[in-house]
C-alpha cells in the first residue's frame, strides 16, 4: 500500500512540476497578446488599441502575477477546462483542438506500438533461437542501424523510398477520408516510429531469452522432450518479458516525442503539429494542454507498467 501511495504522490508531484515549468517558461518567453489582438497588441500609441489591450489582459488574466495565473489555470485544468486558444481570429476552446487532434496522434501511437511488438517478438525469438549464428549477427547489425538512425531520417527515407519512389503507400494524410483509408495513410508513419522501438525491444528480449534459455528449468523441459518451439514460446518467453515491458513503457515517451516529428514529415495534423505551431505562435493554453496530456499519459502508463509487473511477477507485489 505504501508503495502505491508513494508512486501516486510522486506522479502527482511530477505532473505539478511539469505544469509549473511549462507555464512559467511559456509566459516568460512570449507575449500572447499578439495572438489575441493581432497587430493591435503593438499599437500602444493609439488609445483605442490600448483600451483593447487592457480589456484582453483582464479577460485572459494576463494582468495578474504569474503564480496567480498558474493557480487559476491549474484550477480550471483539473476541472477539465483547458481554456481557450489565443488566436487573433477567435478564441475557440482548446478542448476542441484536442478533441480533433488527439485521436489522430493516439491512432498513430497505438499503430506504432502494435507494429513494434508484432515485429520485435518473433524477431527476438528467432534471433535467440539462432544465437550467435550468422543470421543473428546480421540481425544485430540491423537493430543497431535502426536504433542509431534518427526518426526524422528514417521517416524521410521510408517516405521517399516507399511512397514517393515506389508509390506503395500514400504520401499524405487527409483528415476527412474514411477511417480505413486514414489507417492506411498512417501505416508508413507508424512504421517509422515502430522500427526503432522494435529494434530496441528485439535487443532486450533476445538477450533475456538467451539468458532464460540457459536456466535449469529450460534444461529440464528439454530433457523431458519438450520441443524447442514449445520451450521458446511456452517456457522461456514469459519470464523473459520483464525488461521488454519496462522498456515498452519507457519507449512510449520516446514514441510520443518521435510522433511530433513524424507527424510533420507525413503531414498528419495531430498533437505534434499542434504543439509545434502553438509554440511558434506562443499559444500558451494549447502548449500547456498538450504538454499536460503527454505528461499524464506518460505517468499513467508507467503506473500501469508497475501494475503489469506485479501480474507477471508476483514477487514485485510481495516486495
Amino acid at each position: 500500500m505504501k508503495f502505491w501511495v508513494s508512486r501516486l504522490v510522486g506522479a502527482f508531484a511530477l505532473i505539478l512540476t511539469v505544469s509549473a515549468i511549462t507555464f512559467g517558461a511559456m509566459n516568460i518567453l512570449g507575449d500572447p497578446l499578439f495572438n489575441i489582438l493581432g497587430p493591435t497588441a503593438g499599437d500602444v500609441s493609439n488609445p483605442e488599441s490600448v483600451a483593447k489591450i487592457e480589456a484582453a489582459e483582464a479577460q485572459f488574466n494576463l494582468d495578474k502575477p504569474l503564480p496567480v495565473r498558474w493557480a487559476l489555470w491549474l484550477g480550471d485544468f483539473v476541472t477539465g477546462d483547458f481554456g481557450v486558444q489565443f488566436s487573433a481570429t477567435g478564441q475557440p476552446p482548446v478542448s476542441d483542438l484536442i478533441a480533433e487532434r488527439l485521436p489522430r496522434s493516439l491512432m498513430l501511437l497505438v499503430m506504432a506500438q502494435t507494429m513494434a511488438v508484432i515485429i520485435s517478438v518473433p524477431w527476438a525469438i528467432w534471433s535467440a533461437a539462432k544465437a550467435n549464428s550468422a543470421v543473428d549477427r546480421t540481425s544485430t547489425v540491423m537493430t543497431f542501424l535502426l536504433i542509431g538512425m534518427p526518426t526524422f531520417a528514417l521517416g524521410i527515407i521510408l517516405k521517399y523510398g516507399l511512397s514517393i519512389r515506389f508509390d506503395w503507400f500514400p504520401a499524405t494524410f487527409v483528415a476527412n477520408d474514411p477511417f480505413w483509408t486514414r489507417a492506411w495513410q498512417m501505416f508508413l508513419p507508424a512504421l517509422t516510429l515502430a522500427l526503432p522501438s522494435a529494434a530496441v525491444y528485439q535487443r532486450l528480449l533476445r538477450t533475456d531469452l538467451i539468458t532464460t534459455l540457459q536456466e535449469d528449468f529450460i534444461l529440464t523441459a528439454r530433457s523431458k522432450g519438450v520441443s524447442k518451439r514449445n520451450v521458446l514460446f511456452k517456457h522461456a518467453l514469459r519470464p523473459s518479458l520483464f525488461s521488454f515491458i519496462t522498456i515498452a513503457g519507457v519507449t512510449t515517451g520516446t514514441l510520443i516525442g518521435g510522433a511530433l516529428v513524424v507527424e510533420q514529415i507525413f503531414r498528419i495534423p495531430g498533437l505534434g503539429s499542434a504543439i509545434v505551431e502553438a509554440i511558434l505562435r506562443e499559444d500558451f493554453p494549447v502548449v500547456l494542454a498538450i504538454v499536460m496530456i503527454v505528461t499524464i499519459t506518460f505517468v499513467v502508463l508507467n503506473v500501469l507498467i508497475d501494475i503489469l509487473y506485479s501480474i507477471i511477477d508476483p514477487r514485485v507485489r510481495a516486495s
Binding site: D43, T89, G90, Y160, D167, S273, R281
Partner: protein
C-alpha cells in the same frame, strides 16, 4: 512510379527541411508574406477573342463624354503590361462535364477565410475564390469588368464610383446581395485593424459610401482614381454574407466557415489538413462542374510537387523556382506560369536605427549577394528583378539598375556609419547598432521554409562580408506580417507588388499608410513620391503616366528601401485531365483572367472524361 531527378531533390529537400525541426504550421513555400492587393496580368489565353478588349471596355459603362476617358473604360489599364501567364501544356476548352472532386495543394493553411477580417495571403485568396465572388473581375486583357456588379460607373473626375448590383443574387445562406450588404462588407473591412489599412487611406472617414437604392452604392473616394475598380476584383471586392459577418464578429471562430455567393459552398474544414467546398447548384453565373474541391495545405514544397506528380492532388500552387522548373519540365503536367506578378525582395525598416540612415541601407544593398541569390535560389527560372516591373512592362524604368555584390563599397559606408552612430540602440535587437565596426541587424522571415532558410544563409554570407552582423528570426507567417506592420523588424524577406495596374499597389508606399500599424512597411514617407502616385492614378494611361511611375521606380531605388531579388515565378499546375481552368467568363461574355499571383478560380474547371 516516378524516377525523375526531382525525386532526389525531394529527398534532399526533405532532409534539409528537417533541420528546421519540423516544418509545421502555416508558413508558405517561400515563407514570404503575400500582399492582399488585387494583382492581375494579361493572360495569353488560347481562343482569346480579338475584340475582347473592346468588349471589356464597353461593360464598365465609363462616361463617353469624358475626352480623356480613352476608349471609355475607366478601369482599362490598356494593358501593354507585357508578359501575362504563360500556359505550358495543354489546357484546352471543350464540352464541360459535371462531376468529380478536385484536390488542390496550397502552399500553407490560413487562420481564417473571412475577407473582412482575415489578411488573406495567396492560399486564403485561393479558397476565397471558391466561395466568394467579387464586385468586379479582371479580364484576360487586363481590364476590369463588372462581375457581381451590373455596372461600375465613375463620375466625371473619377472621385465617385457607382456600383449597381445584379438583381436576384443571394448568398449561400439565403441573404440577398444588395447595397446594404456591400456597405456592411466595406465598413467591416474598414474597421478591421489590418484589413482596414488597405481601405482607410483612400476614403473619407465620414460618407465613404452612399446607398442610392437597394442595388446601388456609391463609393466616394478621397482622390480621383480611374483605376479604382481594380481594387474590387480581389479581397476588398469579395462579398460575404452580412448575416455571417455579424455572426463572425460575435464568434470569430466562424471565420473558418465562410458564406459567400460563389460557385462553391463551404462544407467542412479541418485546419492544417483539409478544407472542403461543394458545388453551389444555384450559382448566379451559370453551371459549376466540379462536385467538390478539397484544399490541402502542404507547406513543404517538394512534397507538394510530389503529390501532384503522384496525382494525390490534381492541382497546386507553386512559387519556388526549383519546383516550378520541375513542373514545367514534366510533360504530363499543365502549368500556367505567371512571371509578371509579385516580386521577391528584402525590405528594410527605415523608421529605426540602423536603417533610418540611408548609408546603412545603401551599404546593405551594396553587400547583397544578388548573383548568388539569383543563381542558387532563382535557378534561372525566376527572372532577376531590379524593380517592381519586368522589362516588358510599360512602367519599367531601364535606367534603374540596383547596386549589389560590392562588399568593399559596403564596408566603407558601414565604417562611416559606425563611427558616427554606432552607439545608438537597435531597438529590434536590443543592443548597439554597431559592434566591432560592424552593423548589427536582424533578418526576419516567415517559416518554417527551406527556401527561406537557404535565402537567409546566402544573404548572411554576403552581408557579413559587407560589414554586417546578422541575427536570424524565423516566425510564422501571421506573426511575421504583424511585426512588419508594427515596424518591429530591421530587414525582412518579402513578396509583394505585381498588380496589373500599379495604382493598386499605392497602398504599400503612400505616406498615409504609415502609422502605429503600417502597410507602408518600410515606413518611409516621400511627399514627392506620393504626389506622383496620386497624379498617376488620376490620369489616362499613356506616356505621361508611364513617366510618373518610372520616376517613382527611380525614387524607390534611390531610397534603398527594397532590395529586389527576382520576379516571383508563380505556377498554377494541374494534372492532365483537368480542363477549363482558363475558360472563365464574365456574365457579359468576356474571357476572364484565369491566374494571378498564384491564384486561380474554380468555376469553369472540369475533368476530362
Amino acid at each position: 512510379m516516378r524516377t525523375s531527378r526531382r525525386g532526389t531533390k525531394a529527398g534532399i529537400a526533405a532532409l534539409m527541411s528537417f533541420t528546421l525541426i519540423a516544418a509545421a504550421c502555416g508558413g508558405n513555400d517561400d515563407g514570404e508574406a503575400d500582399d492582399d492587393a488585387s494583382a492581375t496580368t494579361e493572360a495569353d489565353a488560347p481562343e482569346e477573342s480579338d475584340d475582347a478588349g473592346d468588349d471589356a471596355t464597353a461593360t464598365t459603362d465609363a462616361p463617353d463624354e469624358s475626352d480623356d476617358a480613352g476608349d471609355g473604360d475607366a478601369a482599362d489599364t490598356d494593358d501593354e503590361d507585357g508578359e501575362g501567364p504563360e500556359i505550358d501544356g495543354d489546357i484546352p476548352g471543350g464540352d464541360p462535364v459535371a462531376g468529380g472532386t478536385l484536390r488542390y495543394a496550397l502552399e500553407a493553411d490560413v487562420d481564417g477565410i473571412n475577407p473582412t477580417s482575415s489578411a488573406l495571403s495567396s492560399p486564403g485568396l485561393m479558397m476565397g475564390n471558391a466561395v466568394f465572388d467579387t464586385l468586379t473581375a479582371a479580364t484576360a486583357d487586363g481590364d476590369f469588368v463588372p462581375y457581381l456588379a451590373e455596372s461600375v460607373e465613375p463620375n466625371e473626375d473619377f472621385t465617385v464610383w457607382t456600383v449597381t448590383l445584379r438583381e436576384g443574387i443571394t448568398f449561400h445562406d439565403g441573404t440577398p446581395l444588395n447595397a446594404e450588404a456591400v456597405v456592411k462588407n466595406f465598413e467591416t473591412q474598414r474597421a478591421d485593424p489590418l484589413v482596414g489599412l488597405a481601405v482607410k487611406p483612400f476614403y473619407p472617414e465620414e460618407g465613404a459610401t452612399t446607398i442610392v437604392d437597394d442595388l446601388t452604392v456609391q463609393f466616394n473616394l478621397l482622390e480621383s482614381n480611374r483605376y479604382a475598380p481594380g481594387a474590387l476584383a480581389s479581397q476588398l471586392g469579395m462579398m460575404a454574407s452580412p448575416a455571417w459577418i455579424d455572426a463572425a464578429v460575435a464568434d470569430p471562430t466562424l471565420n473558418q466557415q465562410p458564406v459567400g455567393t460563389g460557385p462553391f459552398k463551404f462544407d467542412s474544414r479541418s485546419e492544417d489538413s483539409i478544407t472542403t467546398f461543394v458545388r453551389n447548384d444555384d450559382w448566379w453565373n451559370g453551371e459549376v462542374y466540379l462536385d467538390k474541391i478539397e484544399f490541402l495545405p502542404v507547406t513543404d514544397t517538394a512534397s507538394r510537387v510530389d503529390l501532384l506528380f503522384e496525382r494525390d492532388v490534381q492541382g497546386g500552387q507553386y512559387s519556388d523556382p526549383a519546383s516550378v522548373g520541375d513542373l514545367r519540365d514534366d510533360d504530363s503536367i499543365q502549368s500556367i506560369l505567371d512571371l509578371s506578378g509579385e516580386e521577391t525582395f528584402a525590405m528594410i525598416n527605415t523608421a529605426v536605427p540602423p536603417f533610418d540612415d540611408i548609408r546603412a541601407r545603401e551599404a546593405l544593398a551594396l553587400a547583397t549577394p544578388l548573383d548568388n541569390y539569383r543563381n542558387l535560389i532563382g535557378l534561372g527560372v525566376a527572372p532577376p528583378a531590379d524593380q517592381a516591373y519586368t522589362p516588358d512592362q510599360q512602367y519599367y524604368n531601364p535606367d534603374v539598375v540596383q547596386v549589389g555584390d560590392d562588399p568593399d563599397a559596403a564596408l566603407a559606408l558601414v565604417a562611416e556609419y559606425c563611427a558616427e552612430r554606432g552607439t545608438e540602440e537597435n531597438a529590434t535587437l536590443g543592443g548597439p547598432t554597431c559592434t566591432d565596426g560592424k552593423i548589427n541587424m536582424e533578418l526576419q522571415w516567415s517559416g518554417p521554409s527551406v527556401v527561406q532558410t537557404r535565402t537567409a544563409e546566402i544573404l548572411d554570407e554576403g552581408w557579413k562580408a559587407g560589414g554586417f552582423n546578422v541575427s536570424f528570426d524565423e516566425l510564422p507567417q501571421d506573426a511575421h506580417i504583424q511585426q512588419a506592420a508594427l515596424g518591429q523588424y530591421n530587414v525582412v524577406t518579402w513578396r509583394q507588388f505585381g498588380a496589373s495596374d500599379p495604382s493598386t499597389d499605392n497602398v504599400w508606399v503612400l505616406c498615409r499608410s504609415i502609422g502605429g500599424i503600417s502597410l507602408n512597411w518600410p515606413k518611409l514617407c516621400d511627399e514627392e513620391r506620393d504626389a506622383l502616385l496620386i497624379e498617376a492614378q488620376a490620369i489616362e494611361n499613356g506616356p505621361e503616366r508611364v513617366e510618373k511611375y518610372q520616376e517613382v521606380v527611380q525614387k524607390i531605388n534611390d531610397d534603398y528601401i527594397y532590395i529586389f531579388f527576382v520576379h516571383t515565378p508563380w505556377d498554377n499546375a494541374f494534372a492532365e485531365n483537368v480542363r477549363g481552368v482558363c475558360d472563365r467568363t464574365a456574365p457579359s461574355g468576356e474571357k476572364l483572367l484565369c491566374v494571378t499571383n498564384g491564384r486561380n478560380w474554380f468555376d469553369s474547371i472540369y475533368f476530362e472524361q
